[in-house]
Amino acid sequence: MSALLQLDKATIRFGGLTAVSELDLQIGPSELVGLIGPNGAGKTTAFNLITGVYQPTAGEIIFDGQSTVGRNPYQITKRGIARTFQNIRLFPSLNVFDNVRAVFHLHLRGDVRHALWRGMGYHAEEKAIADRALELLEIFQLGKFRDEPAKSLSYGDQRRLEIVRALAAKPKLLLLDEPAAGMNATEKVELTRLIRFIKDKFQISILLVEHDMKLVMEICERIAVLDYGIKIAEGKPDEVRANPKVIAAYLGE
C-alpha cells in the first residue's frame, strides 16, 4: 500500500534549536493517525511543516506522489491537505454559510471576470456551491445557524464549523490540531463520535494532534509519539501506552 503522506527524515531548525529532527511518518489512505507528545515536543511544528507554513531545513515530504517542499500553504491545500487550528480561526465577519462557501473558490472554474459578468454559467456554479455548502452544514447539524455570524456560535459548534470548512476544500488528508482543547467531557465524547463519522462518511485520512491521551487512544489506529522533536515511539495504541519511553516522556523518570 503506497502512503498518501510520507515524511522522510523531515527536519526543521530555528537557529540552534532543532524543533523537529529527522521525523519519519507515513499516513495511508483512509487511515486515522494520532501524533502526541508533551508540551513543546514539536507536534504543531510538524503540522506546520506538512501544511507548508514552515519549510523543512532538511528531508522530504511527499503528498500523493509529489513533493510539497517549497510550496505555499494555499497550493498544498489545493492538492488536498486541509487543516483546523488549535485556537479556532474562523472568518469572523462572514456568517456560517459564507465561511463554508468562501472555501469553494478552490474548485471554481471562473475567475474575476466570471464574478463580474454574472452570466448563466456563473449563476449555475454559485447555485451548485450554495447547495453543496448547505449539504455539508446539514450533515453536521449546522444548517440552522447558516445566517448567524460565525463568532456567535458556541465553542463546540465553532469547532465543528471549522471542520466543515476544512472539508469544503475536499481534502484527501484532514489535519486536526488539538480539536479537543478547551472542551468538556460531554463535548469530547461528541467529538470522538464526530471524527469517526468523518472518516467513515468521507473516506479520508486524518492526522490528529492531541493532548487528550484518552481520546487519542480511543480512536486512532496508529499513534506516533514526539518528544523534543524526535519520534520516540510509534505503533498501535496499546503498544504505545505500554512503551517505557513514552511513560518516561509523559511522567518523567
Binding site: 507554513v53 486541509a82 469572523p92
Partner: protein, 324 residues
C-alpha cells in the same frame, strides 16, 4: 447582503445618469459641480473600500493613483481641439480608460513588493508612494510642474460621473458577493486561515489594489475634466486622508455606508459655507451673524469628525453588530 439584481441596478443607474445629463443645463452650475464632486468622491471611496474595508489593507496613497489617472487622461485629451459631441465623448471614454489603466499599472508596481507588509508598514509605504507621485509631477515640466496643467476640455458631465460611480459600485459589490470575492473578506479576517483554506492571499491583495487603483485613476480623469486645472498639490496626503475618512465613517466593508459617507463629507464643507452666507437675509445686511461658521468651517468639520469617531467607531452607517 443579497445582490441578485446587479445588472438591473447597473443598467438602471446608467440610464438615470444619462437622463440627468440631458437636463443638466437647467441645473445651477454651482450645484452641478458639487454633483460632480459627489460622483467622483463615490468612485474614490467605494474603490478604496475594496482595499481598506473588504480586504483589510491600509492604503494611504489613493490620491496618488487619482493623480496618475488625472494627468494621463488630461495629457491625452489636450492633444485634441474642438470636437463634435460623439468624437468628444469617444475620446473622453478612451482617455478615462487610459487613465485608469495607468493608475492600475502604478498599483501593480507598488502592490507587488509592498503587499507583503502589513498594517502600519503598508500605510507608510503607500503614503510614501503618494508623495513620490506628487513630487514627480511637481518636477515634470511637460505637465506644467508646480505651475499646474490646464485641461482644455470640460467634458465631465452627469452621465460620466454617475455612470462610472454606478460601474464602480457594481464591480465592487459583485466581487465581494461572489465565491471568488469572498476571498477578499477572508484575507481581511484572518490571513493565516485564508492561506490554509487555499486562498492565495498575495494575489488577492494585489488584485484588490489594482482594481482600486484603476477606479481611482478613472476618478482622476473625471476630476481633471471637471476642474479643468490640475496642480500636484491637489493630490497630496490630505486628499488621501479625506477618502480614508469616508471609508471609516461609512463603516469599513459596507458599500452603502461608504456611498452615504462620500455624499455627506462632500456636502458638509459646502453646507457650512452656505450657512455663513446668510448675511444677506433682511435685517442682517450690515453684520454677518453666522459669518463665524464660514471662517471656522474647516475647524467645525474636523470637530464633527472627532465626535463621529468617538460616538460611532464602527461607522456612521453601519448598523450591524460590532465585529469582534
Amino acid at each position: 447582503m443579497n445582490f441578485r439584481h446587479a445588472k438591473t441596478f447597473l443598467l438602471g443607474a446608467l440610464a438615470a445618469s444619462f437622463l440627468a445629463a440631458l437636463v443638466a443645463s437647467r441645473i445651477n452650475p454651482y450645484w452641478l459641480y458639487i454633483f460632480y464632486d459627489i460622483g467622483i468622491s463615490i468612485v474614490m471611496a467605494v474603490s478604496l473600500n475594496l482595499i481598506n474595508g473588504y480586504t483589510g489593507q491600509f492604503s494611504l496613497g489613493h490620491a496618488g493613483f487619482m493623480a496618475v489617472g488625472a494627468y494621463t487622461s488630461a495629457v491625452i485629451t489636450n492633444q485634441f481641439g474642438e470636437l463634435n459631441f460623439f468624437a468628444a465623448n469617444g475620446i473622453f471614454a478612451v482617455a478615462l480608460y487610459a487613465g485608469g489603466l495607468a493608475a492600475a499599472l502604478a498599483g501593480l508596481l507598488v502592490g507587488i513588493p509592498t503587499l507583503r507588509l502589513r498594517g502600519d508598514y503598508l500605510a507608510i509605504v503607500t503614503l510614501g508612494f503618494g508623495e513620490i507621485i506628487r513630487v514627480i509631477l511637481q518636477n515634470m515640466d511637460k505637465v506644467g510642474a508646480a505651475r499646474g496643467l490646464s485641461v482644455n476640455h470640460g467634458w465631465t458631465n452627469l452621465f460620466w460621473t454617475f455612470g462610472l460611480a454606478a460601474v464602480t459600485i457594481y464591480v465592487v459589490a459583485s466581487l465581494v458577493n461572489s465565491t471568488y470575492g469572498r476571498g477578499f473578506i477572508a484575507v481581511h479576517d484572518d490571513e493565516v486561515a485564508a492561506e490554509a483554506m487555499g486562498i492565495n492571499t498575495t494575489k488577492y491583495k494585489v488584485t484588490a489594489f489594482v482594481i482600486g487603483a484603476f477606479f481611482a485613476g478613472i476618478a482622476g480623469g473625471l476630476y481633471a475634466h471637471s476642474k479643468q486645472f490640475l496642480t500636484p498639490g491637489g493630490f497630496g496626503f490630505m486628499q488621501s486622508i479625506t477618502f480614508v475618512v469616508m471609508v471609516i465613517l461609512g463603516g469599513m466593508g459596507n458599500t452603502v455606508g461608504v456611498i452615504l459617507a462620500a455624499i455627506l463629507l462632500t456636502l458638509l464643507p459646502e453646507g457650512l459655507r452656505m450657512l455663513s452666507g446668510i448675511e444677506h437675509l433682511p435685517g442682517f445686511t450690515a453684520e454677518r451673524p453666522l459669518g463665524w461658521i464660514g471662517d471656522t468651517r474647516m475647524i467645525i468639520y474636523s470637530l464633527l469628525l472627532i465626535v463621529l469617531m468617538l460616538t460611532r467607531p464602527q461607522g456612521l452607517f453601519s448598523f450591524r453588530r460590532k465585529r469582534n
